[in-house]
């Protein structure tokens, strides 16, 4: 392979962007949601690094809610994506109902552990 040039990097980004533009909008909404959850988790970790971990259970509860939300959204995205051969026969409503139930359990746990 030849030297990697900035032109190759630009070509790479360009192709990624155009491929991503082709994804269905429902998946893009899920991606946005995951990004929001991870961003919130990062903010909390930075805050704990500054202030210290005094109510450690509250910190864990907050971070867990963000990460758990992100994980459940990713699972929804996998199950709903039409290009996934594994979940071809799973109706997307089924996937969404699972998503809602798991989130309810997650938030119940969070509220208890928040202290």
């Amino acid at each position: 392979m030849g030297r990697a040039t900035s032109k190759d990097a630009q070509a790479l980004i360009h192709s990624l962007r155009s491929a991503y533009a082709a994804t269905p909008s429902s998946l893009k909404i899920i991606d946005l949601y995951v990004g929001f959850a991870v961003f919130s988790a990062i903010i909390q970790v930075v805050y704990m690094a500054i202030v210290g971990s005094f109510p450690f259970n509250s910190f864990l509860s907050g971070v867990l809610s963000c990460i758990g939300t992100a994980v459940l959204a990713v699972c929804l995205r996998i199950q709903v994506n039409k290009e996934n051969k594994e979940f071809k026969d799973l109706p997307s409503e089924h996937a969404f109902a699972d998503f809602v139930l798991c989130n309810l359990v997650l938030h119940l746990v969070i509220m208890n552990f928040l202290g």
Binding site: I29, A37, P55, S65, F96, N103, M111, L114
Partner: protein, 438 residues
Amino acid sequence: MGRNYFTILKVLSVTLLPILSLSFSTDSPTDRRLLVLLDDLSLKSSHSIFFNSLKSRGFDLDFKLADDPKLALQRYGQYLYDGLILFSPSIERFGGALDLADVLDFVDSGHDLIIATDSSSSDLIKSVATECGVDFDEDPSALVIDHKSYAVAETEGDHTLIAADDFIESDVLLGKKKIEAPVLFKGIAHSLNAANTLVLKVLSASPLAYSANPNSKLSSPPSLTGSSISLVSVVQARNNARIMITGSLDMFSNRFLRSSVQKAGSSRKYDKSGNEQFVTELSKWVFHVRGHLKAVNLRHNKAGETDEPAMYRIKDDLVFSVEIYEWSGKSWEPYVANDVQVQLYMMSPYVLKTLSNDKKGLYHTSFKVPDVYGVFQFKVEYHRLGYTSLSLSKQIPVRPFRHNEYERFITAAFPYYGASFTMMAGFFLFSFVYLYHK
């Protein structure tokens, strides 16, 4: 009330317990009976000033010869006397039912003892003293000799009559008034057992004293020399029995009590030796007129409440109080000191506070229970020279927070609360958007 208690106790002790001592009973501390054992009854008159001072303080003295065949300290398991004075240096064997073990049991049960011996001391008296923590010189002909601190007499003596003024510094033992004149001493030396922590030197010999036979030339350096020679020692046992031991029976005699004294090398002549003040004050201490403390009413409660809880919670505020009194010979007076401390103890003290007193005997303080849970003890340990030791403890458990006693809505955790709630809101909004977008 005191007499009633006495008779009930007598009946109980005969029927129930083998030896119930009435040593220094806090309910009937006056009218105490002393057994005085003498070598010969002329001591009654030659030491009459000392004995009369004891009688005037309310003691009943029972004079007996040390080899009296009817001698007994206890009958039917109950002690007949509250204190023992051994003024019988040359007795080889006690008469009657008394022996060394009996005397030691007497002291072990909390009774007081005064031992005075002199150059005719027998091995029996020396072994009583050894058991109490004091070792007399083994040489039977040795006396304390001091060529610098002897008492000046008309005839040129052999410097065995000592004028001693090296007293221990203690108001409790020797009284508030300083003893100005030196104390006349003529007798044998003893030293303290170095391993014993309960024995104190009240009057020590000067650094130039030594213990040897005055009539013969010294063949080798004497074994007891200098300030390690104690002339008068006291022992305060852990059960608060008090023992006074001295090697000079003449120190108590009328002759020494009334005599004038002039220490060699000093021009000051005292009309009266310090003996009377010394033996009177020290015998007051031995028989518990000074320095006998009692602590009652150890109480603790939560700040703001009055009853004692069975358990505390961590980080509670509590108030602790105890009352300490000192026996003054006639009544219990409030004890005033500023160094009594209380500990909250579980394997090691978590809290150590000095109690403040209100000058009427009540000591109190307040502090916060530490952040550790477990079974603690309130401990008051008070050991001071010349005073009875106080060792009080009261057990108290401390529990952690109940699940509804923790802090809620901690300010530092608001970002985490915020994050959790925004996640919930976000989930709600997302599900709407996901389901109804075009």
